[in-house]
């Protein structure tokens, strides 16, 4: 391979090496490996705090009136409704958020106002969807279905890894295995590698199929 590269001369080498380096860097950004630690996270269109909604513990931040706050302890499945039945966990529709937040939450809360605007409770630009940044993403050639994973781990809680500050019973108690302690995250970040090695290790430990077609089909 080097022969044709070297044949194009010094500048050509620099250019090709630059392309290769760019490819690697881009690939790493898209699918990070835990060499330097990744903790991938994004700023979202709305600063949605999983802590307030999912945690069962006292929160770090205090309310506007100075009172300490505890999380609501909502089930993960309250919002991610299809996680026990479908491939995707499901993102709640704007109308679902608004069913509470049209009355709950301060009127001058900037973040809630973005939601209320999207739900057309305020403003006059009509309803609009919210485009969240995906934090946990698997490559296109991987088919991951939430339903069997949730079902298995719910029935075998001893296989659940990572603790959670949220609900520990039922389907909501198993999410932490792949997603970490989301109930303690002000902003959701990826804490597990979610690389093929992790998938295969877990499948092997739990007697799940490890043939290629289990995920790549």
């Amino acid at each position: 391979m080097l022969v044709p590269v070297l044949a194009i001369g010094g500048l050509g080498v620099v250019a090709v090496m630059g392309v290769v380096a760019a490819f690697i860097i881009t690939g790493w950004l898209g699918q990070p490996i835990p060499v330097l630690g990744f903790e991938q996270t994004f700023d979202q269109p709305i600063d949605f705090p999983h802590t307030i909604h999912a945690s069962l513990k006292e929160l770090d931040h205090v309310a506007a009136d100075g009172q300490t706050m505890e999380g609501l302890g909502q089930d993960c499945t309250f919002c991610h409704r299809t996680v026990t039945t479908q491939a995707n966990a499901g993102i709640p529709p704007v109308a679902f958020c608004a069913s509470c937040h049209q009355v709950i939450g301060a009127e001058d809360n900037d973040q809630l106002m973005i939601l209320r605007d999207a739900a057309d409770i305020v403003g006059d630009d009509g309803p609009s969807p919210v485009n969240w940044r995906r934090v946990h993403r698997l490559p296109d050639h991987v088919r991951f279905v939430h339903e069997p994973h949730i079902r298995y781990l719910t029935a075998n809680p001893s296989e659940v890894t990572n603790s959670t500050d949220g609900v520990t019973e039922g389907p909501s108690g198993v999410c932490s295995t792949c997603h970490g302690n989301v109930a303690a995250m002000q902003q959701v970040e990826q804490v597990e590698s979610l690389k093929m090695g992790q998938c295969v290790d877990c499948h092997r430990d739990n007697g799940a199929p490890t043939d290629c077609a289990a995920c790549h089909y």
């Binding site: 760019a22 898209g30 529709p93 739900a119």
Partner: protein, 770 residues
């Protein structure tokens, strides 16, 4: 590095290729986006609800309601705007009754008591039906079906089931309406209770009946009262009752007669009208024909002395009643619950003859009979006299099987009939109900019953609106799943369905087919509020509207005569009751828990009484001046003693009670009725004496005299009134005063400026702001 032209072009081309490759390797933006759609999918909570029209079953006199159902759960009950009785209005009881559907103490399974002294054990419905069938084997001629007064198909099925076994269907109503039905029949010649055109009346004169709170059809009357007060002079309302009820509180003139003298008060009013020549001679002649002996011997002073109402006030009421017509007079409640109850109510209803108010605008409007054959449009409890005989039969062992539904006879009967002992002598006592009541303590077989929200039926309102109405009742929810999702809240079945399943099948298969059949028959008449091409469309139309009505089918009256067998009231003795002061006991129906049928619902329990604001307890309203004289303070525990027994209540001194009268609400004192009602308050029914109306044999439940003694302890009365210290409100905008030649806008501005000066001062108001 030195570049020639060729190298430069090559490098540029390679860089461009590299840039293309670089861009292709990156993640497209859409891959990193996950979107919250705007709308909810179909299967999620959409905030959209379904409303079903149905009837209120046992908890009103035929109110048509709409039930809000979300995801299979009934959430709210409102008045049905289409229904001619409720016309979209509701009472607090509509809200509370919903709690019986989800009550944590609902009976979940059939229960059997293997021996009279044993405990109840859960059994299956198959076992229950086998036991039921066994109880009917030897019941021919020895069966009694006991229900609350039932109209519509449920009443029809209960009567036919009893008849199949040559038994009796007896209705029990602790607040007997038999005297009222008797008076309406004798004076107006009507089998159904009439309605009153309050909306178009100028003067309303009522006696004893708390028609805005609990009597008759409060929802219907409440709507009419609103219209009555919307008239240009707001109408004029006179109410006579020994204690201030919700109705008395709304009246322009409240008369508080001695209990049992309401008939004399009516005759006194009539005598003033006749003496002053305020009505036509023909009306006077018709009135005197209806009152044997007329009122020629009635004098105003005598009436004032007997009733304890000032002559001037009687005169004022009479003049207003006769001169500001249309007028209407009616009565019921405690006015008819005396030994002379028939006379009292007869004299009251006869006043309508005097002012020509029968079948006229603003007067009494009669109701027609049932639109469906064999389905009763009117129902009242059997007389207390009949009950005494029946219970004697039970005690003598002459009755093999008693089936009880909707009637807590152990709670509602006075001690004098010894109902508990009688039930122990009946071999098979079968009780239906949603929540365990006092009567079920004596039942051998307890069967969980569906609420009106889960079952089929029809309901004919009484009093109706003046024309034929058939209200429909349909299951608006299915069986409710328990909170832990382990099973049903209650494996209940309908009373009617169970009786039909145990019957020979000659009068129906199930309640749904009966209701659909009846609606199909109505369709074939070709009249009424629903018109449809086919019977099935007609049925759906009627169910969607909550019923069927025919405004062209009205009732009629034929004036008769007032029963005058006993004009004076008798009261029970207190001579042997030990220490204390004598009072006249006037029990009254609770505004929220009624006669106790809603005691199990905590919302009903916590609804404050409209007069005292008390809740969750049994209190005694006693005149505050008299209480001062006797040293009785609010919260003092009083022993209320009659010849039938003794109860404890909390004193509530109050100016709105006639001196010498003690008013006690009904409905508390259950030994069983779910966790919210058990052992709460006292049961005033238990201390009623067995005095009866001389005409009908109905229990004279307001004829008991009691001896009242302080028990020497005090408990805080649970009430809202007085719990929060009164404080001045914020200064408000003054009433708008519009001067001569001034527009409303000018006046508004001027007043606003005056108001603002309080806060801004002259300087800021004038705009001289630094």
């Amino acid at each position: 590095m030195k570049l020639n032209r060729r190298e430069f072009l090559a490098l540029t081309g390679k860089t461009a290729v590299g840039a293309v490759i670089f861009a292709a390797c990156g993640l497209p933006e859409r891959e990193l986006i996950v979107q919250s759609p705007v709308d909810l999918p179909e299967d999620l909570v959409r905030g959209e609800d379904a409303w079903y029209a149905t009837s209120m079953g046992d908890f009103s006199n035929g109110d048509g309601v709409l039930v809000r159902v979300m995801q299979g759960r009934a959430k709210k009950i409102e008045g049905n705007p289409d229904h001619p009785v409720t016309r979209g209005k509701a009472t607090a009881r509509f809200d509370a009754v919903l709690q019986l559907l989800y009550h944590p103490d609902r009976i979940s399974n059939p229960q059997l008591r293997y021996s009279k002294t044993g405990n109840l054990s859960n059994i299956s419905w198959d076992q229950a039906e086998e036991r039921f069938a066994n109880a009917l084997k030897n019941a021919d001629g020895a069966l009694t079906v006991v229900t609350n007064p039932l109209r519509g198909h449920l009443g029809s099925v209960a009567s036919k089931f009893a008849a199949q076994y040559n038994g009796k269907h007896m209705a029990f109503d602790p607040v007997e309406q038999g005297v009222l039905h008797g008076a309406v029949k004798s004076v107006l010649g009507q089998d159904q209770l009439p309605t009153f055109d309050i909306s178009n009346a100028q003067t309303v004169l009522s006696f004893g009946a708390d028609w805005l709170g609990t009597w008759g059809s409060p929802t219907q009357f409440g709507v009419k009262y609103g219209e009555f007060r919307e008239q240009h002079d707001r109408g004029y309302m006179i109410h006579a009752e020994p204690r201030m009820s919700l109705t008395a509180a709304a009246a322009d003139l409240w008369l508080a007669p001695v209990p049992g003298t309401e008939g004399h008060l009516a005759l006194g009013i009539a005598s003033v009208i006749i003496d002053e020549g305020l009505v036509s001679a023909s009306n006077v002649a018709a009135f005197e024909a209806a009152i044997p002996g007329g009122v020629s011997n009635v004098t105003l002073d005598d009436v004032a002395a007997r009733t304890g109402v000032d002559a001037d006030r009687i005169k004022k009421a009479a003049e207003r009643f006769a001169e500001h017509t249309p007028s209407v007079a009616f009565g019921g409640g405690s006015a008819g619950a005396h030994t002379n109850g028939s006379f009292n109510l007869g004299a009251i209803y006869a006043l309508n003859i005097l002012v020509g108010a029968i079948e006229s605008k603003g007067g009494i409007i009669s109701n027609p009979g049932s639109a469906i054959d064999d389905v009763p449009a009117s129902a009242t409890g059997a007389s207390f006299e009949a009950w005494e005989q029946e219970i004697a039969n039970w005690r003598a062992g002459n009755v093999e099987t008693v089936i009880i539904r909707g009637a807590d006879i152990v709670h509602g009967m006075p001690n004098s009939v010894a109902i508990r002992e009688a039930l122990e002598h009946v071999p098979n006592v079968i009780a239906f109900g949603a929540i365990h009541d006092d009567t079920m303590d004596f039942a051998d077989l307890v069967l969980p019953e569906e609420t009106f929200l889960e079952s089929w039926g029809t309901e004919i309102p009484e009093p109706g609106p003046g024309y034929q109405v058939v209200g429909t009742q349909q299951p608006v929810v299915g069986p409710t799943i328990s909170q832990d999702e382990s099973g049903l809240v209650s494996d209940a079945r309908g009373f009617g369905d169970t009786l039909l399943a145990m019957s020979d099948g000659s009068y129906g298969r199930d309640m749904e087919s009966l209701v659909r059949g009846a609606l199909s028959d109505l369709h074939s008449t070709g009249r009424g509020s629903v018109s449809a091409a086919s019977a099935s469309l007609f049925t759906n139309g009627a169910l969607q509207r909550g019923g069927w009505w025919d405004t062209d089918n009205n009732g009629s009256s034929s004036v008769g005569r007032v029963a005058t067998s006993a004009q004076g009231a008798n009261y029970s003795d207190t001579d042997t009751l030990g220490e204390g002061n004598d009072f006249h006991l006037v029990p009254f129906v609770s505004n929220s828990i009624f006669d106790g049928r809603l005691a199990a619902a905590p919302w009903a329990q916590q609804t404050p009484d409209p007069i005292s604001s008390a809740s969750w307890s049994t209190w005694a309203e006693i005149n505050s001046i008299q209480a001062d004289q006797l040293g009785i303070k609010e919260g003092d525990v009083l022993l209320i003693r009659s010849t039938s027994g003794e109860i404890e209540v909390l004193a509530y001194p109050h100016p709105g009670v006639r001196p010498g009268v003690i008013g006690i609400p009904m409905g508390q004192g259950h030994r069983k009725s779910g966790r919210y009602a058990e052992d709460r308050g006292s049961n005033v029914f238990s201390i009623l004496v067995d005095e009866k109306d001389s005409e009908t044999g109905a229990l004279a439940w307001a004829a008991t005299r009691v001896r009242v003694q302080r028990a020497g302890k005090r408990v805080k009365v649970p009430k809202f009134e007085g719990n929060v210290e009164a404080r001045p409100i914020e200064p408000g905008v003054p009433v708008l005063v519009v001067g001569v030649g001034e527009t409303a806008v000018d006046a508004q501005e001027a007043n606003h400026h005056l108001y603002q000066k309080q806060f801004l001062g002259e300087r800021k108001e004038s705009g001289d702001d630094e």
